[in-house]
Symmetry: C2
Subunit: 274 residues, 2 copies
């Protein structure tokens, strides 16, 4: 039997019960894009400008909503309008990392009300299963999806070995809500206890630390190319941030870069289907 | 030589170079309180009311600022006024968990601007050392202190064994900023490579999951008593939340409960000095 990740995004979409996972795979196939763009700017005007510029090239806009200085509810309204206009999903990269009772409040309440607008969010597995059940109590009724952090691309990360195995086991126990991982590698079968039928297991793998022109930054981030990540590593979605909008460039340049990453990511996906 | 944690808070205060750690230990001695109160309510008015009520009994107010629905800058102004009025420090329990470049923005920017008002914050060690150097680049110039998550009190936590050792090693490499741990046990000597002189090592241990009247909640949180945590476990500060303000009780009841935890925590500290 061929591993799940060598099948097409369209074929895999039909097998996910989680609506956010299904929608994401369908958008990817429709737009021929496995490119997630991380928009890490701190002002609302610039944020919306970049999202509108890169919208046509991306399947998923990744946000850090808590770094935006002049955040307001209108930003969310406009972001959702852009999501409809350009056909992409929204992923708040919150990296929840607290116990169940706290993440329930952090996900649903506060100024940002993440659950009300973010199709997908993510969490660290470190607190144990209560973080998933807590987030699921908010997210499942809204049709949201969760990614777990199973590995990290930064130097000296402690997310490896038995930690990664523990994270995958937690995901396997909550397949209605956990749709995949932020990771560098495929996770099917990792940490399997043998009696679990993981042969047809399919987790989405979303991979940060992707760059075409650099190998790292001054703060410990390390980069790999779309081909290494998608064709060789089997990842489903590449995350690119500063490589697209960084350096204070104009909108046409940002769009040219976004299209370059989209095309490279898609080429790598097609190579792995063969 | 006696382990550092069997010395008085006053004696230990003099040995910390980090100003937030020193101030915290001095407040603890001055108020005879090793009680940190976690105020997890979602409305500004109630938040400030609880903080004003429990202020006299606490050395440290722990916040989840991102769950407050009607957060505004005036809340911060009033919180800082209460901190002066009642002589306590502020600890935003943010559990940062991203790479260096991102946490710099999350700590200093956005709506909440945590670094501008929170004396102490915390972070997971999972991304590797870049999370500390990133946060330190913002916090050290402001005299802030950082606690690392070395263990968690929730069921099935992945923060144990080699993970805990890795976290302690990261802390040891950044003693100017990392003042201690959110943990259940002492961390001196953990993960030591032998050539490090940890005999006089002193980390503050701040411990959640403390309760006098219950043993757990429905979302995987587990509780121990102040005596178990401080006298037997060697922790320096106990964190109590719902045990004090939970159940919709009135202000006098909240104050009675806060004083009870303060007295129990202090008695446990005195027992361990003997």
């Amino acid at each position: 039997m061929r591993p799940t990740f060598t099948r097409s995004y369209t074929e895999r979409a039909g097998k996910f019960s989680n609506p956010a996972a299904r929608q994401l795979l369908e958008v990817m196939a429709r737009k021929q894009s496995n490119l997630c763009i991380s928009v890490d700017v701190t002002l609302k005007g610039e944020f919306l400008e970049v999202v509108d510029a890169v919208g046509p090239y991306t399947c998923l806009i990744k946000t850090h909503i808590d770094i935006i200085e002049d955040f307001d509810q209108d930003l969310i309204t406009q972001l959702k309008n852009l999501s409809s206009k350009h056909d992409f999903l929204i992923f708040e990269d919150r990296k929840f990392a607290d116990i169940g009772n706290t993440v329930v409040l952090q996900y649903s309440k506060g100024v940002h009300k993440i659950a009300s607008w973010s199709d997908i969010t993510n969490a660290h597995a470190i607190p144990g299963p209560s973080i998933i059940t807590g987030l699921a109590s908010v997210g499942v009724p809204l049709g949201r999806g969760l990614l777990l952090l199973a590995e990290m691309s930064s130097k000296g990360s402690l997310a490896s070995g038995s930690y990664t195995e523990g994270a995958v086991r937690m995901a396997r126990d909550h397949r209605d809500f956990v749709i995949g991982f932020i990771a560098q590698n495929r996770m099917e079968g990792i940490g399997s206890r043998g009696f679990e039928a993981e042969v047809d297991e399919d987790f989405l793998i979303i991979t940060p630390g992707v760059g075409l022109d650099q190998s790292g930054d001054s703060m410990g981030q390390q980069y790999r190319t779309p081909f290494q990540v998608v064709a060789e590593g089997g990842s489903d979605v590449i995350i690119v941030g500063r490589g697209i909008y960084g350096g204070g460039v104009d909108i046409p340049t940002i769009q040219t870069r976004a299209e370059r990453y989209r095309a490279e990511g898609w080429k790598a996906y097609e190579a792995r289907l063969k």
